[in-house]
Amino acid sequence: MTDLLWLIPFMPIAGFTVLVLAGSRLPRSVTGTIGTGTVGLSAVVSMLLAAGFGVKGDGYVVTQTLWQWLSVGDFSPRFSLYLDALSLVMVLVITCVGFLIHLYSIGFMKNEEGYSRFFAYMNLFVGSMLVLVLADNLVSLYLGWEGVGLCSYLLIGFWYRDSANGYAARKAFVITRVGDTALAVGLFLLFTNLGTLQIQELMQRAQAEWPAGSKIAVIAAALLLAGAIGKSAQLPLQTWLPDAMAGPTPVSALIHAATMVTAGVYLIARTHVLFTLAPPVQSAIAIIGAATLLLAGLSAFVQRDIKRVLAYSTISQIGYMFLALGVGAWSAALFHFMTHAFFKALLFLGAGAVILAMDHEHDIFKMGGLRSRMPVTFWTFLIGVASLSALPFVTSGFYSKDLILKLAWSSERGSVWLWAAGVAGAFITSLYAFRLLFVVFFGDRLTRAKSDPGISMTAPLVVLAALSVAAGLAALPEPASGRQAIQQFLSGVLPAAHIRDERTPELFLLLIASCASIGGMLAAWLLYVLFPRYAEGLVQTRAGRSVHRLLFTGWGFDRIYDRLFAGPFLWLTRINRDDFIDLVYEGAAWYSGVFHHLLGLTQTGKVRWYAFGIGLGAIITIGIAVFL
């Protein structure tokens, strides 16, 4: 049964090829079933394989070698799939959430043209993401890595008619490509120094040959981190994610919330040995995580476009995962990835339903009181928001975020400041989450809105809502080790976080975290339901307006990058369009022309002029002969 592993990535890619070759000729219903079916099948197969793992997770691994990709000298990577506990979690989330989103997009894209093209790209995306997650060497990981980057480009620019979407797609691809190049250079460095790119072998050799904190390890880890930052839209390469909302909503749900943006988290988790060998880089991860979660959270608080709020929220939540990775709580990061995938996908799909109902209206302040018009969407959106803001005990978000905060405090590499940043982030998260909820679903109904969308769209919402609550069960403490089920499951692959000293005030941390999330909810209630005028007033003040503009533009990173990189590059290339080196050769040609003209003038046709020339020549030669 384990040799069915190759089916998981193969099915979506097969779906892609079928849809690309025959897509436009198939009726819509068939395209939809093919697109969704393939992902569903991989979901089923991955669940079957998951059964084999059981809960014990004692380093059980399924590998399958497909074929020898390359063999040149000592570099001979194989196409082989490597499924262990970590990849299983990723595969399960990707395929299940992917399946639900495909189901949703059958309804969402019903009356859009380019239907088969959409499903083809979505299948290609799921396929490349699965290749990325199941890769057993860094080169095929890189193949999946670029594949998902490509699909995000294709899907963001799906409505290619509007060139703004094209610009957003190119911006996303180029910025992630910056990270990918750093990752590629990291790969070269690793191969040249350690002789292999097989992940497991690489880790053992790194551990054996590189002392902790050696310069080469730090550089390698830094390059891998740069790759992860590019793909997971962390500081400083996060400007592309808010613009990536130009794509259809299911795309944002699948790619820019659940799966692709967490590829960076997976990469760091997969190569955690390298990061433990480079402590400065690991603390850098934590700091980046903390900074990103604060900045993105604040920016999310002032956005007007429903999808941009969620985009900034994604950046902020991934900041939490990076924080967890930074403090060495590997499995906590994975746990938060799982819960985040569920509730963020739910929020995006809910937003998609709302947008569809308001016929493509994105501005939340033009919506209101949808509570009564769209009950199912409202309730599922409420669960999503609750889970996002980690309402205590009832939502899965709480368990994963609390675990991260606890470990941020108690872990060896953690510190009080990181914990404080986390808690502040939690407060802001619930603030903007509930603001979104109240503005969109409460208040007086401003405009007309259609009712709940069809079953194919509401079903995934309900399932995701259930999942974002049920996922909390994974946090049930294991009777034997007292550690949480998810941690136990992943213990085979990811080492447990080293706790600094035993006496962490468990209860105190729990209390503070829940106060933060409930406090955020209440504040949002106050600002946006009881005294909406007050919030407006606050923004009008001069200081308020400048802060608002700073936050709204995502801390002005776009403007900085335009002036620093995009502007000069465009200006330079436009000026140099005709290639100044060409001018050198044009100049040579021009000078020979001038020289030819001057020579031409000396031939005047007058006999006496020529005699004069002869005489002059005679004089000069005699002069030289006689005097020199």
Binding site: L601, Q603, T604, G605, K606, V607, R608, A611, G615
Partner: protein
């Protein structure tokens, strides 16, 4: 009579040669140019003869004879061309036939 000093004759030849050369450059009338060329040829011949007389060998004079022959042929053809030129351009201006230029 005293033997003739070589450089005296050579200087004479040089003077005659330069005068002929100046004549070629100065005058625009083709006849004058041809005449100046004759002067230059004669000066060259003089130099040959004086060289020959220094060693008492006839070679200098043989060379002079060749120069004479060449001068004769050259003048005959030259003047025939001058006639044609005159018919063609109606004037003896050397610069009139300046078509081949640039």
């Amino acid at each position: 009579m005293a033997p003739v000093p070589i450089e005296g004759v050579l200087v004479l030849a040089a003077v005659l040669f330069t005068l002929g050369f100046a004549g070629v450059l100065m005058r625009r009338n083709i006849i004058f140019i041809l005449m100046s060329i004759e002067i230059m040829l004669n000066a060259a011949g003089l130099a040959f003869v004086v060289a020959g007389s220094k060693w008492g060998q006839p070679d200098g004079q043989v060379m002079f004879i060749f120069i004479l022959v060449m001068a004769g042929a050259e003048v005959s053809v030259g003047l025939a061309l001058v006639l044609r030129l005159f018919h063609r351009f109606r004037s003896l201006d050397a610069d009139a036939a300046g078509r081949m230029k640039g």
